[in-house]
Symmetry: none
Subunit: 417 residues, 2 copies
């Protein structure tokens, strides 16, 4: 099956938004074994959207749209496709009820245009939107399949991964299905990971091995087409074993969870609690952890001691440690150690972790951008401090630093098992 | 002039690379006053590249290519365009000399295919590559303009900004340029903002008015084509005034900065300091603020009191306030007030802000998902507590809550001026 992705939105043509949706959909379609031959971007213009549909229909069996499902007059995708296909627009009642309920519960007056988000094209299947109001659409007309997804990535991704993929699988109707497994690694860069298994990647035919990079984490997806899950498992297990022989010590999960969730699970299993003291990451570590539902069971809380005065006031670190001639300074191994220990004592947690360093854009205390110290204090054990020299922008250094301390904590927790 | 961008590369269709080149070029073309009507992505396939050229020629005056100028057999852009136009390929001598010199100086044997990077199409202008080996091309044939740029962004960007823009300016002549201004709003949703100015949007011709939504913030871009910046300013000022009459109280910036940066600037101007106490946002507010370089001047730090015990231990809030029969509970107006006051006192800051509420996915203390209390404590003034009922996923509620307290703080700071 050949697919074309049409992203609708003038903001894309003005360069105000990066078309990450096309990337996400292309990856997902590749995993389903669907070839993408073209990606198109078109503005919020009825005539040009219809031209793009006409063209895509001539060269693809499946057309995926993103964007243009919202409430405003600029949101034209459903209307343009309906007009092109000569179909009417209906209200999808469950979506309408959801929209009305949302506005009523918030006590806000509903603007009439919000009703547009419940529209679906006559004869189409509704794709429910768990993260927003605009309902998606899927339909097959004269041998061409159409899938309409919203533009905001936080709405588009769950709709594609859930109802849209289920719908696509039903039209693919293959006997052999694609089974895949995600392996997640930390504490190793994408290049190093790829280098370690390059021969496996190059020899690959079935299962296929595809590495993906995220900030501070790397994932490998291994996929195979099989008649049953059992048949697939045998092949995926073999490939996983070969990968683990090389880089097994960096493997923290066999499913798509972030490192902080793997850490929380190990804490939960061992009944232990965590607290954090952050300087350069400014709350990012706590934010990553508390983004996981139920994290309050293991994460007690923390302090953001962004200035020396706060390290002194909140963590009782002597000013003589932080400033003045001969002082180790805030960005030092001993300060990282003290921060981790003091936050552990202050909160009464089993583990205290700390981060101090230079996020940039300019150096600090004469220390270079990217230099980070992070500490792990554990009750009844000597405190461990690691050093890292990270590269990237301010934002990337902050994420990598947070992931680095999580990886070391994961190592401590998993080796203790 | 109408432009189309064709990005060539199978890696884009597999979702392995994000098409940031299209975004960069679209921005640059908008600045030159050139309208982009379509962006296309096509794989490394001669037939489909020629199809994309044929199509683009039918609907654009200017076609920009990125990618496919490298040394490998997969790099087909120049050959495909030359064949389409019925032109020969020549060696561009200065580029050939540069390639040979580079290999000689490094003492590396030059593979024959590297010579391909010095190819240019007969009758075209060479665009020098300061960051790599592949020479670019620009030419006008039968009224259509073609510009060929390399794929790697670190080569593409300087070639576009330097020789390609100069070439484009020469073919544009003295045309009118596009001037635009971004207005940023908070404390108002996209639909409500649009509703408030719907008549202005519908009447728009010049300047144009385009709203954009981000989490907890909304932007409006107003744009006009003019012969000079002065001429543009007059028109943009008039439109801005009409918008401000309706929704001026929500306008926090006239440039592309996040709300937290606007807050930091107001703090800086008035020489005041901020500290935060977060429960449901778990460090997200501190993280947003400290992501701004230089924020340590105004943001002292904060606490993440994710559990009741931490609210007690770190902020000395009595347990009788938080738990037990008849206690207000952690998610209450009075706890929000205490959190804001205590973190202000603890840190010695001028302002203390707090957030407590239910991020979800399930209710807490019998209170519904999305209910948030946030406090603003200011030295010598009564503490203000606001309530919000937010919707969305756990992650979205957390972002909206953080932006809501920032908006209220921005109001306090800007009204005090």
């Amino acid at each position: 099956m050949r697919a074309e992705i049409i992203a609708v939105g003038t903001e894309l043509l003005l360069g105000q938004t990066v078309n990450t949706n096309a990337t996400y959909l292309s990856q997902g379609l590749a995993e389903l074994g669907i070839d993408v031959y073209f990606q198109t971007v078109v503005g919020d213009n009825d005539t040009r959207i219809r031209q793009a549909i006409e063209l895509a229909r001539s060269r693809a069996d499946l057309i995926l749209f993103t964007g243009g499902l919202g409430p405003t007059l600029d949101d034209l995708t459903k209307d343009a496709l309906a007009a092109y296909l000569g179909k009417a627009i209906h209200i999808h009642e469950p979506s309408m009820v959801k929209i009305e309920t949302m506005f009523a519960s918030r006590g806000i007056h509903m603007v009439e245009s919000n009703r547009r988000q419940a529209n679906i094209i006559e004869g189409s299947d509704a794709l429910m939107n768990d993260a927003g109001l605009a309902v998606g659409n899927a339909m097959s007309v004269n041998g061409t399949h159409y899938v309409l997804l919203p533009g905001p990535p936080r709405e588009m991704k769950p709709m594609f991964d859930g109802p849209a993929k289920a719908w696509l699988r039903s039209i693919l109707g293959e006997e052999r299905k694609l089974y895949s497994r995600l392996l997640k690694f930390a504490g190793i860069g994408e290049s190093s990971l790829e280098q370690a298994i390059i021969d496996l990647i190059e020899q690959q035919s079935d299962p296929t091995i595809a590495p993906y990079a995220k900030e501070g984490e790397v994932a490998i997806r291994i996929s195979t087409k099989a008649l049953s899950e059992q048949e697939a498992s045998v092949r995926l297990d073999q490939t996983e074993e070969r990968i683990k022989e090389r880089v097994g010590k960096h493997l923290f999960a066999r499913e798509d969870i972030p490192l902080e969730e793997a850490v929380l699970r190990l804490l939960r299993e061992s009944g232990r609690k965590l607290a954090s003291a952050e300087s350069l990451t400014g709350g990012l570590l706590a934010q990553l952890i508390t983004n996981i539902p139920g994290s309050s069971g293991e994460f007690l809380g923390g302090v953001v001691t962004y200035t020396n005065l706060m390290k002194h006031k909140l963590l009782s670190i002597p000013m003589s440690q932080l400033e003045g001639p001969g002082a180790p300074g805030a960005i030092s191994e001993s300060t990282a150690s003290l921060m981790a220990e003091r936050v552990r004592e202050l909160t009464g947690s089993d583990f205290g972790v700390s981060l101090t360093g230079v996020a940039g854009p300019s150096e600090s205390e004469g220390k270079p951008v990217g230099l980070v110290y992070f500490g792990i204090a554990e009750q009844g054990k000597p405190t461990i401090v690691h050093t890292a020299e990270l590269s990237g922008s301010r934002g990337i250094i902050r994420v990598r630093a947070a992931k680095a301390v999580l990886y070391r904590l994961w190592q401590v927790l998993s080796s203790a098992e």
